[in-house]
């Protein structure tokens, strides 16, 4: 049961310029630029509430920025950004009444994966024994692994991961590093929001520091 590694088009680039976003009356960030090309991994650092989740959801296209633009360069012809993106958030996107196998079969149909990749993906995440148990009996860590298996079931070049290490033990966290390394090697790119270090070499964008500097400027 091997998992054939995906190959992604190398020319893909994410370019964001002058992004600004507010939550209520508080400025989360403004004038934020970032660029990430195939093979790149960017870690968003910063305390809770510094806008990591909001930025990830902006890049995923779920939210519209108040100012600034998000561009995807080098995209295959007819594709649109949403088809390139895997989003992994706090809520795992798994229905509790279904089993991991059923949830991933649905994800495969929804996001263009192959059912054949479900078992090897679960095995890679060390969750194959859980395949046919209802998700509501699984622990938080086990659900996290099943949700992460979705990344492997439907190969997509862009991974937007929001706190993927939450609820994972040491072995799990090392596994995330390995998956990100493999993804990068296959020519994919990833933005990972986490306040713990990840076991892969990545550029760092510290929203915490930016936010302090930002509010500092306005008051000065």
């Amino acid at each position: 049961m091997t998992l054939p590694a995906p190959r992604f088009a190398p020319g893909l680039r994410l370019v964001a310029e002058g992004l600004a976003m507010r939550r209520g009356h508080r400025h989360l960030f403004a004038g934020l630029d970032l660029a990430l090309a195939s093979g790149g991994v960017l870690r968003l650092a910063g305390p809770n509430g510094s806008g990591k989740t909001t930025l990830i959801r902006l890049l995923a296209g779920f939210l519209k920025p108040e100012a600034g633009t998000i561009r995807w360069e080098g995209m295959p012809a007819e594709a649109e950004p949403a088809l390139l993106i895997h989003y992994h958030g706090h809520r795992e996107g798994l229905r509790e009444a279904l089993t991991p196998r059923e949830n991933l079969a649905f994800a495969a149909a929804l996001l263009g994966g192959e059912p054949g990749r479900i078992a090897p993906a679960l095995a890679t995440l060390g969750a194959l024994p859980l395949a046919d148990l209802p998700v509501h009996v699984l622990s938080a860590g086990q659900r996290r692994r099943v949700a992460l298996a979705r990344l492997l079931v439907a190969p997509r070049p862009v991974w937007l991961l929001d706190e993927p290490l939450a609820a994972l033990d040491q072995a799990g966290q090392a596994l995330i590093g390995a998956l990100l390394a493999a993804h990068r090697a296959a020519g994919g790119l990833a933005v990972v929001a986490t306040h713990q270090p990840i076991a892969v070499e990545a550029a760092i964008l510290d929203l915490g520091a930016r936010g302090a500097a930002l509010s500092g400027e306005r008051e000065a």
């Binding site: 095995a123 890679t124 046919d132």
Partner: protein, 58 residues
Amino acid sequence: MSGSHAGFILAAYGATALILAAMIGASLLGWRSARRRLAALEAGRGPAGPRAPDLRAP
């Protein structure tokens, strides 16, 4: 038995037989499926399927 009366009796006993059959059938099916799932889980094979080697993506 006069014609119309027989019709009503047949309808009443038919409906009763149908509902009783449904109750008995549902109970039996429920028991059979529970027994099968229980046997699978207890045999350790479990619906989780055979254990597979943990393969890292290359």
